[in-house]
């Protein structure tokens, strides 16, 4: 591995951190590629090579993780939560949530409980896998 690879890793991490921080914004590949200072086509390919999944999937999992938290810890409606975490429509949210978590948002809310663990660990360990 070279300095160039380390530099590329760091740029991809900067874009990934942007998704973690600004998940509710309408982030698309061109916007994230700008953060990483690479072309959009290069960005998607390199992100996948670095982290093992596409940026789109990473962002979906981040949004679903945030939604899981809001479902556990608030009484807000599923529709409100879908918009709050950055999905364009409740239908897309519910489909994506079920695809990733294996349950509907409503079923998940019924079953889940809040935890008392520091939030950064809860976020890392409750991030749904692909």
């Amino acid at each position: 591995m070279s300095r160039a690879t380390e530099d590329t890793n760091r740029r991809m991490l900067r874009a990934r951190d942007t998704m973690d921080r600004a998940y509710a914004e309408p982030l698309d590949v061109p916007a994230l590629a700008r953060v990483a200072h690479v072309s959009p086509a290069h960005f998607t390919r390199t992100f996948r090579a670095t982290f093992g999944e596409t940026p789109h999937r990473y962002l979906q999992r981040r949004r679903v993780e945030r939604a899981m938290s809001l479902l556990r810890e608030t009484d807000r409606s599923v529709t409100d939560i879908s918009y709050e975490v950055g999905f364009g429509s409740p239908g897309t949210f519910s489909r994506t949530f079920r695809d990733i978590v294996g349950r509907s948002p409503r079923q998940y809310r019924k079953e889940a409980r809040a935890t008392g663990v520091p939030t950064c660990f809860t976020m890392a360990w409750t991030r749904p896998r692909d």
Binding site: T5, E6, L13, R14, D20, G116, P118
Partner: protein, 136 residues
């Protein structure tokens, strides 16, 4: 049994750059910076708390093959290694100060049950958090 935690360790890719960041930007103090010949022993601590040091170490050396050192550098720059959590008396003020210095944030200050906290990256990919603990 044990009395204290005295040293924790983070891998960094450049120790001068690490000093610029941890001391110049975060405001920690250099505790020890000695060239031992075989390594540069570089530790920092929070001002006024020299008993808890962070060792800022380069991957490599005789105990680690170049291939392993490369793997460590790969993991550090992917953000997969190293976390340190600090406390502050004012998370939002610290956030503003560090933002003005161009520090990269992974999370802006958020109210948590245990206080207010936020997250940053060091220049290499390590994850640093700082918390303003909730007072009872």
């Amino acid at each position: 049994m044990f009395n204290a935690i005295t040293h924790s360790q983070l891998y960094v890719l450049d120790q001068d750059e690490a000093v610029d960041f941890y001391v110049g930007k975060l405001g920690l103090e250099v505790n020890t910076d000695v060239d031992l010949g075989f390594m540069r022993w570089l530790t920092v601590n929070v001002p006024g708390a020299p008993d808890r040091q962070i060792l800022l170490q380069l991957p490599g050396g005789p105990q680690m093959s170049e291939q392993t050192a490369e793997q460590v550098r790969d993991l550090v720059t992917k953000g997969a290694l190293g976390t340190v959590i600090l406390t502050t008396s004012d998370c939002r003020k610290t956030y503003e100060e560090l933002r003005a210095k161009g520090v990269e944030f992974t999370q802006e200050p958020v109210e948590q049950p245990y206080g207010v906290d936020c997250g940053i990256r060091d220049p290499f990919g390590n994850h640093i958090r700082f918390t303003e603990p909730r007072t009872a």
